[in-house]
Symmetry: C2
């Protein structure tokens, strides 16, 4: 699977992932109003607004990028109706030729992780049928429960040619509270990184492993070290743009061959029309604003590679 | 919210939670066959079997127990159809007067955790309406991202009178891989425990906090220390029964007043009819087997309190 991502990154010349994390207040009023008029002030109405918003952004960006990353929480907040739209978004993006990284951050004891792995990356056996739940290409995984909580995801990756990104060093302000704690003189995230390499060893797909890592753009000193610790691990890098990470901060996430990382931006792309820089497009043309924001982001990153 | 749980525990004299984690292979054949006959070999058919199974178990146990804990992964594996049944199960249990602990183990950066918190414990604003997504009373939370990833859950608890259980020391074999690592001479899970106390300080509900902790039954030496570190924190204790934890192992999870913990059993209750001990009930009467297993479990735990 990771080789497919690399191929798409090379084709688009954009190591860029668009985060489809639609908060209701990012969505232009005309879209929300129309959806609520049609379905009432209901979860279905809200979810419909999310879907219309996503579709417009995907239609305006799919030819420029290798992948999208829907954050499932932004759908789950609308209950079942939201998850219907999560699935519709995943399916639509894949139809458009995009790879889909489900940002689900799941992780549990072995048998439970196996159920998540099946539901998001694999197929569940129902009688004689093997059926997919949410058919994403990659998901993100939380490592707090250790190897037996991560292994079922790794196994499904190998079986179904899928990929995962394990949380190593996250981009949020208090990520250091536990992740940076020193264990025999080394931060916890380095130990997790070593485990990620170990977990990924049997799942190499050409030069890189299908077991990747989440490494936040907001801590550039740490990403330099992590790059060295995990040379054949692909990084999914959140935190660029709205969260404060700059292109300079990203440089060390990449290997010398210009590969090794894909950078996510959510708000900076999907709510671009609300930035001064793109306000000329207007709320009616938010999709075009997102397109321009993707072009600018790819140029910004390529500048430092 | 925690005071409601305590009241129900005192009323039922059973600090017991039934884990509604239905793997398809736990469900008696006659139920699966009927559901697949009606809906075909589809996700909907599988989910219908899960629902019929759950309903029978709840109908046979709701008067004996304070709470149930559906593991959302076991529903998510069937995609949207599974989540429809997750919601139906949650709603049905609450109608029956049970408290529902959604075992979702969510946790992300602040804004994303806020969306999960709203979706599982709170209400989302859609126009003039504040609507619930999955209306559970408690959920489990993963602390790997630190305070700003947990805080939104704590905030919703206070606002909506709900509760959470934060993963401190999990019951699985490799939980020690990261959780037991020593930081300045003390294991990581103790640091997490101290944070749990801090997060819960402003959310006291009579004697205990609405911010609880997950502490596995399989590591009794550790639960003794954690009990002392978190005297006013309620423990949700997985790992009893099928995972290997015994009543003796649980003793130290409780305070001297006999409160302070609720013990979960999933397989041991819901698949009781498959144990030699309960095979006299037969697969047709699996609900009665589960009822007897609950009675036996409560007696077993009360024996050591």
């Amino acid at each position: 699977m990771i080789s497919q991502l690399i191929e798409k990154i090379q084709k688009t010349k954009a190591p860029v992932c668009v985060g489809l994390d639609p908060m209701l207040n990012y969505i232009p009023e005309h879209i929300v109003e129309k959806a609520l008029k049609e379905h009432g002030e209901t979860l279905k109405g809200a979810a419909e607004a999310v879907w219309q918003f996503n579709k417009e952004i995907v239609d305006h960006t799919y030819d420029l990028i290798p992948a999208v990353k829907p954050q499932i929480a932004m759908y789950e907040q609308f209950g079942v109706e939201g998850l219907v739209v999560y699935k519709r978004t995943v399916d639509y993006c894949r139809e458009k030729g995009l790879l889909v990284i489900g940002d689900v951050k799941r992780g549990d004891i072995g048998s439970t992780s196996a159920a998540y792995a099946v539901g998001h990356l694999g197929r569940i056996q129902v009688g004689s049928q093997a059926l997919p739940g949410f058919e994403t290409d990659f998901i993100t995984v939380n490592p707090y429960l250790g190897t037996d909580g991560v292994k079922p995801f790794v196994d499904v990756c190998r079986k179904e040619d899928k990929g995962i990104f394990v949380l190593v060093k996250t981009s949020n302000p208090s990520s250091g509270e536990f992740q940076d704690k020193l264990i025999d003189g080394r931060p916890l995230y380095e130990l997790v990184a070593e485990k990620v390499v170990e977990w990924g060893q049997d799942s190499m797909d050409q030069g890189y492993s299908n077991v990747g890592a989440v490494v936040g753009a907001t801590y550039p000193g740490m990403s330099r070290i992590l790059r060295k610790l995990m040379p054949r691990t692909y990084f999914l890098v959140p935190g660029y743009g709205a969260q404060g990470g700059t292109a300079e901060d990203l440089r060390h996430c990449f290997n010398e061959d210009g590969l090794g990382a894909i950078v996510n931006s959510s708000r900076g792309i999907i709510a671009a029309y609300r930035q001064e820089k793109y306000e000329r497009f207007g709320a009616e043309h938010f999709g075009e604003a997102s397109r321009q924001a993707v072009i600018d982001m790819a140029a910004d990153i390529n500048r430092v590679l």
